[in-house]
């Protein structure tokens, strides 16, 4: 008797769970950790406005976004490093790039006793990440920061352990700024890092820097701000030390905005201009050109339209820069390419 009641309850329970499919649309996405703070806010807000549409975004890194999109196990991906022609041709289906926001990679550091904002020359950043500059009181750093007492401690370098668009932006900048970096290491979402500890995601790098004294790591601006970690000014192409800011990022994008290619893939690191912040970048959503599921297609297109019009207002609060108006106009037209 007890056994039959137990089995009945079990069967009901199982059926109940299996049948608990909501009538709504669930979209799975994943990728860049760089814009995760604003994506997380957008998808949450969009779900509140459209409760039957759930866009589940998992911040696992740009490499994840690209790889899983190509494997078609997610509905769309996100990356701060645009897909190369090679990657696009290997995918086997057409993928469209849609820029969402612009952000900045900043060198965040944790030096006990030093609260000032350090100035980093291009040579300094390259040297630190190449492993040629090993101590905080190295000449290259003290020269640029005359008033600051830098300790004679080893620099603990932190980079990404996973395939990362943030790494792509960082290495893209270093390759443009330093020929030794370009020849020895190069640009990419994963590179052969000469030195340093690996952290998973922007979150992991920030977490490691926060915990390790005398460390330095590159993260998206909002991560340093949200975690109250100091970050340095970086010398741009014109030789000016610029603090990462929305204005600096927008200035860097100004040239590209006018001549934006049709597929929206462009690099704005080391951009000319006195106020340009040199380690700026667009970040993209990677969306298949052909989506067979009509409800998913409409949901994604609806989200994109909302993102370009209303979503942009969330940017400032989270320290991302809005897309230039010309880009928004061009993108709105491009949404029709999703069939």
């Amino acid at each position: 008797m007890r056994k039959s009641i137990l089995s009945l309850v079990l069967c009901l329970g199982v059926t109940g769970i299996v049948l608990a499919q909501s009538g709504g649309v669930q979209i799975n996405a994943g990728g860049a950790t760089f814009p995760n703070p604003i994506y997380s806010k957008w998808f949450n807000e969009y779900n509140k406005m459209h409760p039957n549409i759930q866009i589940n975004y998992q911040s696992q890194g740009s490499g994840f976004g690209k790889a899983q999109l190509v494997a078609r196990s997610i509905d769309f991906g996100a990356s701060d490093g645009p897909m190369t022609d090679d990657e696009l041709s290997k995918a086997g289906f057409k993928i469209l790039h849609f820029p969402t926001v612009m952000g900045a990679d900043v060198p965040s550091y944790n030096i006990p006793g030093v609260n000032a904002t350090l100035k980093f020359t291009q040579k300094a950043l390259a040297g630190i990440y190449l492993g040629t500059i090993t101590k905080w009181n190295d000449g290259e750093l003290t020269k640029a920061n005359p008033g600051v007492k830098l300790p004679a401690e080893d620099i603990i370098v932190v980079h990404r352990s996973d395939s990362s668009g943030t790494s792509y932006i960082w290495t893209d900048f270093l390759s443009k700024a330093n020929s030794e970096w370009k020849s020895k290491v190069g640009t990419g979402t994963t590179v052969n890092w000469p030195v340093g500890l690996g952290g998973k995601g922007n979150e992991g790098v920030m977490g490691t820097v926060k915990q390790q004294p005398y460390s330095i790591g590159y993260v998206e601006l909002i991560y340093a701000i949200q975690n109250h970690e100091p970050f340095g000014d970086v010398q741009n192409l014109d030789g000016v030390f610029v603090t990462a800011s929305l204005e600096g990022v927008s200035a860097a994008a100004a040239g590209a905005a006018k001549s934006m290619p049709d597929d929206f893939r462009v690099s704005i690191t080391n951009a000319p201009g006195k106020t340009s912040y040199p380690i700026s970048s667009f970040t993209w959503l990677l969306i298949p050109a052909k989506i067979t599921d009509a409800s998913k297609r409409d949901a994604i297109k609806g989200f994109l339209k909302w993102m370009l019009l209303d979503g942009q207002k969330d940017c400032e609060a989270l320290s991302f820069a809005r897309l230039p108006t010309q880009v928004i106009a061009k993108e709105t037209k491009a949404i029709d390419q999703i069939q």
């Binding site: 499919q21 994943g30 589940n56 975004y57 995601g201 979150e203 977490g207 989270l318």
Partner: protein, 282 residues
């Protein structure tokens, strides 16, 4: 007493006390772990923690409700695979199998038992996620179920074998067929052992993270059905712990406390169940 004897006696006392010290260290490690988790996590255990969905990144608050439900769903799926295969496989080994097939099945079971959980994750990814083009609770449940099978099978086989022959023979002497004997006599006789095996294996896989990372994926919302990704308690702990947000760290501690309480309580309950059964029988 010679010097050598004094030396031997001293060594005796010293080494024996050292072994006691080793045992003390090993045992206190558990209490240390529980204590740390309780100290860091207990303050976060309030109602909203268990009932709310996670808040957007960087914002304070939110809870792990979907992770708890997700873990529950994964365990249910794992049980649907693990229990039938494990129990019926054990029945086959204990009651029907010839020695050659028994050898091969036991060998395969032990092999499966030793496979690292991340390799099982790879297997579940290639066999379920890739063909389905979907991360899903199904894939995660499959991975966990595969891990449960060897644990359940080995314990159940032993419990079934421990049922005295006299019980079986008595039943058959009364005219029951073999399968009826198994179903109505042997399995009920071993029922508390079987139950403990099931509960212990569930507690074991509830804490597994590695196979879920690329199967169940993760979900910010409530998991729907079997085909969608789902959040799970250990994965949430992992992601939150590695993040830089203090609020997420706090939640990681609390979720860790929930997880370890689940594991400890299950283990204690099963132990009491077995002890009561043994006492009842003797």
């Amino acid at each position: 007493m010679s010097l050598r004897t004094i030396w031997r006696k001293t060594v005796n006392v010293v080494m024996l006390s050292l072994t006691g010290l080793c045992a003390l260290i090993a045992v206190s490690a558990l209490f240390l772990i529980l204590g740390c988790l309780a100290w860091k996590g207990a303050t976060s255990l309030h109602w909203s923690f268990f009932t709310q969905l996670p808040a957007p990144v960087g914002e304070i608050g939110g809870g792990i409700a979907n992770a708890i439900v997700g873990t529950g769903k994964l365990l249910l799926l794992a049980a649907l695979i693990g229990i039938p295969v494990g129990l019926l496989g054990a029945v086959y080994l204990a009651e029907f199998a010839s020695s050659t097939s028994a050898f091969f099945i036991r060998y395969a079971t032990d092999l499966l038992n030793g496979v690292p959980s991340i390799v099982i994750g790879i297997f579940a990814y290639t066999v379920i996620v890739l063909p389905m083009h979907h991360f899903s609770a199904l894939a995660g449940g499959f991975a966990l179920g595969v891990m449960m099978v060897p644990i359940i099978l080995r314990s159940c086989e032993e419990f079934l074998r421990n049922v005295p022959r006299s019980l079986r023979e008595g039943s058959m002497a009364l005219g029951a067929s073999k399968w009826r004997t198994i179903a109505r006599v042997v399995i009920p006789a071993a029922s508390s052992g079987i139950l403990t095996a099931i509960l212990l294996s569930l507690a074991r896989v509830a804490g597994e993270t590695a196979p879920l990372i690329f199967t169940a994926f993760g979900n910010q919302f409530w998991p729907h059905g079997l085909n969608q990704p789902t959040a799970a308690l250990p994965v949430v702990i992992y992601n939150y712990a590695l993040s830089p947000y203090d609020d997420w760290h706090r939640q990681a501690w609390a979720a860790g406390l929930v997880l370890i309480l689940l594991v400890v309580v299950t283990n204690v309950l099963t132990r009491l169940l077995l002890q009561r059964e043994a006492a009842g029988r003797s």
